[in-house]
Symmetry: C2
Subunit: 163 residues, 2 copies
């Protein structure tokens, strides 16, 4: 269960210091390759051959999953820190499906993910079973990428294993 | 206006060939850095110093925006091809805001984006004004990343300029 219910509070209600801003610029290169810049970082995007690209970089959906994995990792560490717990090890594996007919425009289905599942293996010390349950709930409730996906109505699940 | 209304059709209703699958694996490295693998590609994720990281890679929200930029680019090219139009140039700039109190757990606001805006500059031949309007609508309606963000209730807008 979520410990924080996402609301539609507008940015205008928050103090300026509460609002984080993120920005990218991007330029199409050739075929289906696009080169994105985020601050000092270059992020290339392409498609595999079966989707018409030259397979020089991850595809857009893989970047979304990478953002999800990274986001969950940051939230795990943040909440572990709050609880005085120590993370020894953390592995994540995310899988997603989508119905390509939405993107292709050949059927009235949503273009975005149908399902997303993330399997997390974590070595964490300093939490008993009840504490670990609260920890898991807080991670799911406070992860910006995960809550975005869930709020879109995607069948999004996280499984946890302590190692 | 969307030309295709996203629905909640389940993957089970689609033929197996319609379903695309995407997967990542990820391992936490140190501090807030996580190393993600998608097929043969390595994608690093970190946070800037003000968010507690070592700033060795884009942060998770920047990766989501990179996925959005790349996704819009792929959809632009796909729909241009359907319409017999030629894309000469394509630049994108995305900006997003979020209220950090959701992530930090200090206020009952949603952790994910409040706003996302993408400004697109496109050089495209072979479309009159009416055709370009239909093209724009189809891009917005069929982009998996963009429709995910919109479906989550984010104030998501795209502005277009022909160059």
């Amino acid at each position: 269960m979520a410990t924080i219910a996402p609301t539609r509070a507008s940015a205008a209600e928050a103090g300026a210091r509460d609002i984080a801003r993120f920005a990218t610029t991007a330029r199409w290169d050739s075929r289906l390759r696009t080169d994105v810049t985020a601050r000092q970082f270059a992020i290339a995007v392409d498609e595999p051959p079966e989707l018409g690209g030259a397979d020089t970089a991850p595809n857009p959906m893989e970047l979304l999953l990478a953002g999800l994995d990274g986001c969950l990792s940051v939230v795990v560490h943040t909440i572990a820190g709050e609880l005085g717990a120590t993370v020894r090890a953390l592995d994540l594996a995310s899988e997603a499906t989508l119905d390509t007919r939405g993107f292709l425009g050949t059927a009235p289905v949503r273009p975005y993910f149908q399902t997303v599942h993330t399997a997390i293996e974590i070595g964490i010390d300093g939490l008993d079973e009840a504490g670990f349950a609260s920890f898991r709930d807080a991670v799911a409730a406070r992860c910006p990428a995960g809550t975005l996906i869930a709020a879109a109505g995607v069948d999004f699940t996280i499984s946890w294993a302590r190692v």
